[in-house]
Assembly symmetry: C2
Homo-oligomer: 146 residues x 2
């Protein structure tokens, strides 16, 4: 009878104790049994589910996506088209982010290369930041989750 404490579960899987409690709060991890003193005691099923969540997060899936993916795993005999769609949509998002970062990278490189390392008054970095017309690319707005 594996009865993991929350600290053990966290250490085993490389996350913080608070993160596990958070996933329980938002309903991603089912509430585990409790000890006589009200401390959480996890089974291997919990550990599996936690690993799924953590790994999906590492691959950039949102909590909302993961919620859906977990729901789909509870329907093992259904076709996996929905899973694939979710993953494909996420892949597209990742690619959009990469494109934006690439545009940023190019502009940052460009401005650093043009800087003469003199005074701030004549600094190319400052000039470019002050005027988008000096940019070579159309870089969109910044955005979250890399």
């Amino acid at each position: 009878m594996s009865a993991l404490s929350i600290g053990r579960l966290a250490a085993d899987n490389g996350c913080k104790v608070q993160t596990i409690r958070y996933y329980e709060d938002i309903g991603l991890l089912p509430p585990p049994a409790r000890s006589d003193g009200n401390q959480r005691r996890y089974t291997r099923a919990h550990a599996r589910r936690l690993r799924f969540i953590l790994h999906s997060r590492e691959l950039g899936f949102s909590i909302a996506d993961i919620r859906q993916l977990l729901a789909l795993t509870d329907q093992p005999q259904q076709p996996c088209a929905e899973v694939d769609e979710l993953a494909a949509a996420h892949l597209a998002t990742v690619r959009r982010r990469m494109a934006r970062l690439q545009a940023m990278e190019q502009e940052l490189e460009r401005m650093l290369n043009h800087c003469q390392h003199g005074e701030v008054r004549e600094c190319r970095v400052i000039d470019v930041l002050a005027d988008h017309a000096l940019c070579a690319t159309e870089h969109g707005p910044a955005q979250a989750e890399g």
Copy 2:
């Protein structure tokens, strides 16, 4: 004599009215003069500063970075080494994020390519999410600001 309303300033520069008020709140934009009826009236200097902020944000600089950059522009006769350092550090951050996104991209591609489009029970996407050992790369944790 140019006396821009907040709505005009926002429209001219492609941001939201609230964003401008927010930048004032946190001390990035100086409080402008007010009309008799207490509405904000901006000068071209405000517009310039706002564009600097917005453009820096587009290039992925944090508000903290921008605060520093703005402080440096107020010292035009100083050497621009600090500016360059900030930009270089940011470039490094951008590259780290790109590398992480690239790892994600590879794994997502791989799992989608291996999926047989059968049932969830045997879906490669689900399998990989459940077990990091099935990954080809060491992809670190996700993270913010793309």
